[in-house]
């Protein structure tokens, strides 16, 4: 018993102050990418060719980067002859609409809160059923980590529950494999309305590295309507938490509430 108390003393208090304080991310962390199109040589398509998921397109309107498809890898950065692409350390990536994730020079339109009625229902208590539909256990692991003492999801009234019937919504990972499609649909149907759906990770948004494989369906919104998209491969736990809090109106658009 004494050992347990001593260990408790040693372990200390570990819950981060986010969203009140801004947490530090590692210096090499790859958050929101920015492209300086003024550096792009005329006709250069090196980044388009290098991108493993065709997240970058160039046409007459310029270069567009789809954060929903982005794996946050370094292939485009390395391919660029002019160092026009760089990752910032901004971990805030979640958006309400799929098209908001496609950047064309402008800054990312972060997720807006649910409407008033939904916020009244879920703002202080949101129960989610997680469904992995082909996820590699990367997104799953970083969703799981939100329940540890570090992020302590419970303090926001958000909880992962065992049954869709006890849930207010689904948190989906994976590209939705053909073999999970029916199970996902059934889980969605089992959640009582009104409900929210959150797609976490490049796979659940657009298929990730598996995009256009016939064995999968290019993401959750092929099967169910999605209310929140959280990009990343996998998204950092802070990115997921930030997205959830924005959806519930617990953060102001753009910056955390003081």
């Amino acid at each position: 018993m004494l050992d347990i108390l001593l260990a408790r003393w040693q372990q200390g208090h570990r819950t981060i102050s986010f969203p009140k304080g801004q947490p530090a991310v590692p210096d090499r962390f790859r958050g929101v990418p920015v492209v300086d199109q003024s550096k792009c040589p005329v006709g250069c398509r090196d980044c388009v060719v290098a991108c493993p998921t065709d997240a970058i397109t160039i046409d007459a309107r310029g270069l567009r980067l789809d954060l929903g498809r982005c794996l946050f890898c370094t292939d485009c950065v390395e391919a660029c002859p002019e160092q026009a692409i760089r990752y910032t350390q901004d971990f805030r990536l979640a958006a309400r609409k799929r098209e908001d994730l496609v950047l064309n020079g402008e800054s990312l339109k972060l997720a807006e809160a649910l409407d008033k009625k939904m916020r009244r229902l879920f703002g202080r208590s949101l129960k989610l059923r997680q469904v992995s539909a082909g996820g590699c256990n990367g997104c799953e692991a970083d969703v799981n980590v939100l329940s540890t003492v570090v992020f302590d999801l419970g303090r926001f009234g958000i909880q992962m529950v065992a049954s869709p019937r006890h849930a207010d919504g689904l948190l989906i990972t994976g590209p939705v494999t053909e073999n999970m499609r029916l199970a996902l649909k059934k889980a969605y149907d089992a959640v009582p309305a009104p409900k929210v759906v959150i797609a976490v990770g490049a796979c659940a948004i657009a298929g990730g590295p598996y995009i256009n494989h016939p064995e999968q369906h290019n993401g959750a919104d092929s099967v169910v309507p999605v209310d929140l998209y959280i990009p990343g491969c996998p998204p950092h736990p802070l990115t997921i938490l930030d997205g959830l809090l924005r959806l519930l109106g617990r953060l102001e658009v753009g910056r955390p509430r003081a």
């Binding site: 372990q11 992995s132 999968q216």
Partner: protein, 510 residues
């Protein structure tokens, strides 16, 4: 009896010409496997390959002989729709044969447990091992499940979606009250078509498939793939890169083993260790992120070396973080062994005997917990492990306690290794560019991932492209081990037993 067949001798991470893999007739092939296994070798890989779209399927086998640190390879050709199953005499191949049956519509005659593996269409149009239509995708989970009948015997079906934040799979328990007679595990829900997509590569997506084969084993699978490319391109990664790969692989082990010990504590309701280890797992992941920006090591391991270097201050910081984390892990994990309430739940639960472990060819900590001594880092070392030795950690009771304790031993040894390597990090570059792959070649690459033996086998064609890429995640060997561990247990012990194996679904389903 045919004469002892000559097998090709292979080494981990060394390419051979495909024509050097002997083409044996069936009796020779059969006795090569049976004699090899009787002599102590393990079947590391066994897979089909259809060189042309005709009726002939080649079956390749790779045996791993720990004693000599050698691998042995051979192939045979199967004409028609059946081949005699080796499973009754050599249970290790049970799932390999089921996979061949499913992928190529070849029926292993006499297989005692012939069921689909991933519920995918046969690659040989018009040939299905179960006589199903080959024009349609088979329905997942539609198969004959094992069934115990009798008064008050009941069946409990769980999944594909489970109660926690975890990947999907279907489990069926045959029970009498709380007592489990048998657990059948039916997977395939995570199938994403990785092996099919690798054919014709390498291309710009290949490394990303590798990093997401099993996302919690990013470093393990990426390293296995890079060893394949480097072997085929005749490229040697710089010494500094080899060290950083080893450091990353051990950090992956540290994170996952620590997380598993926390989860095991959680499953027996022991909250202190559960809560501390949950946090500490993240501390190890953050060390990997310090190295390359990603908690899972995405972007770090690349053919030819590693894409991120550890400069002086970074190394210092990593060493400091390691020391702090290990001090906390030591205190958190120590509580487990001193708490009788934990030990009474861990001990004698989910036992697997050494005999069953060897018959099924289990790998990794699950096998070492039964007293088996296999560890790729020791038996088939490559990279930094050729120069720096990690002692093999074993236990002998084969229960949940043993699987937990082996993890704790490995945590300590991995931490020592990381410390040692970071303290004497070799200078020089971290990345070279591998050239073209060799044509018509065959290579086996083995890595001891945190779950156990990761095996990748690749073959190139005359155009230097990949014509077959076989991935064998350690989970492929170990799922049947979990089923065996559940026999004669309480159904309420399933979460504990399951977590003590902590196997990958997508690593199995590919």
């Amino acid at each position: 009896m045919s004469a002892a067949p000559q097998l090709a001798t292979l080494r981990n991470g060394v390419a051979r010409a495909r024509r050097e893999i002997p083409d044996l007739d069936w009796p020779q092939f059969r006795s090569a496997i049976l004699d090899g296994v009787a002599g102590g070798a393990y079947v590391t890989a066994m897979f089909g390959h259809m060189p042309n779209v005709d009726d002939v399927v080649e079956i390749y086998v790779v045996l791993a002989d720990r004693e000599g640190g050698q691998l042995h390879g051979a192939k045979t050709r199967v004409c028609g729709d059946v081949f005699p199953s080796l499973t009754p005499e050599c249970p290790q191949v049970h799932l390999f044969e089921r996979e061949i049956a499913e992928q190529f519509g070849l029926r292993p005659e006499g297989h005692p447990w012939l069921k689909p593996v991933r519920f995918v269409k046969s690659q040989r149009a018009g040939h299905d091992a179960w006589g199903r239509s080959t024009s349609e995708q088979p329905l997942i989970g539609v198969m004959n499940f094992y069934r115990v009948e009798g008064e008050e015997v009941h069946e409990v079906a769980v999944g594909p979606i489970h109660a926690g934040v975890i990947e999907p799979g279907h489990f069926r328990f045959q029970c009498h009250g709380e007592h489990v007679f048998h657990l059948e595990i039916s997977l395939g829900y995570q199938h994403r078509g990785v092996e099919r997509a690798l054919v014709g590569g390498p291309d710009k997506r290949t490394i990303h498939y590798m990093e997401t084969l099993a996302g919690d084993t990013t470093i393990g699978h990426a390293t296995a793939y890079c060893q394949v490319v480097e072997a085929l391109a005749g490229c040697k990664p710089p010494a500094r890169a080899q060290v950083l790969r080893g450091v990353a692989l051990e950090l992956e082990r540290l994170a996952n083993h620590t997380g598993d010990l926390g989860a095991l504590a959680g499953d027996v309701g022991f909250l202190p260790t559960s809560s501390y280890c949950g946090r500490l797992r993240g501390d190890f992941l953050n060390m990997t992120a310090r190295l390359c920006g990603s908690r899972f090591g995405r972007g770090l391991v690349r053919p030819g070396g590693v894409a991120f270097d550890a400069d002086g201050t970074r190394t210092e910081e990593l060493l400091k973080s390691l020391q702090t984390a290990m001090s906390d892990v030591t205190s958190a994990v120590g509580l487990l062994w001193d708490s009788s309430s934990v030990m009474s739940r861990f001990e004698d639960t989910g036992k697997v005997s050494l005999e069953v472990c060897e018959e099924l060819g289990l790998v990794g900590p699950a096998a070492r917990a039964c007293g088996a001594e296999g560890d790729i880092r020791n038996d088939f070392p490559l990279g930094i492990y050729r120069f720096s030795h990690i002692p093999v950690s074993t236990a002998n009771t084969g229960d949940v306690f043993a699987r937990a304790y082996v993890r704790w031993l490995e945590i300590q040894r991995s931490a020592d290794f990381v410390r040692e390597q970071l303290q004497m990090l070799a200078g020089g570059t971290t990345l070279t560019t591998p050239g073209e792959l060799a044509a018509d070649s065959f290579v086996v690459s083995l890595v001891e991932g945190w779950r156990g033996k990761i095996c990748h086998v690749a073959m190139t064609d005359e155009r230097r492209r990949i014509t077959r890429y076989k991935v064998i995640d350690p989970s492929f060997h170990n799922w049947m081990g979990l089923a065996m561990a559940l026999r004669n247990q309480q159904i309420s012990d399933f979460p504990l037993c399951n977590k003590s194996f902590n196997l990958s679904y997508c690593g199995h389903d590919l």
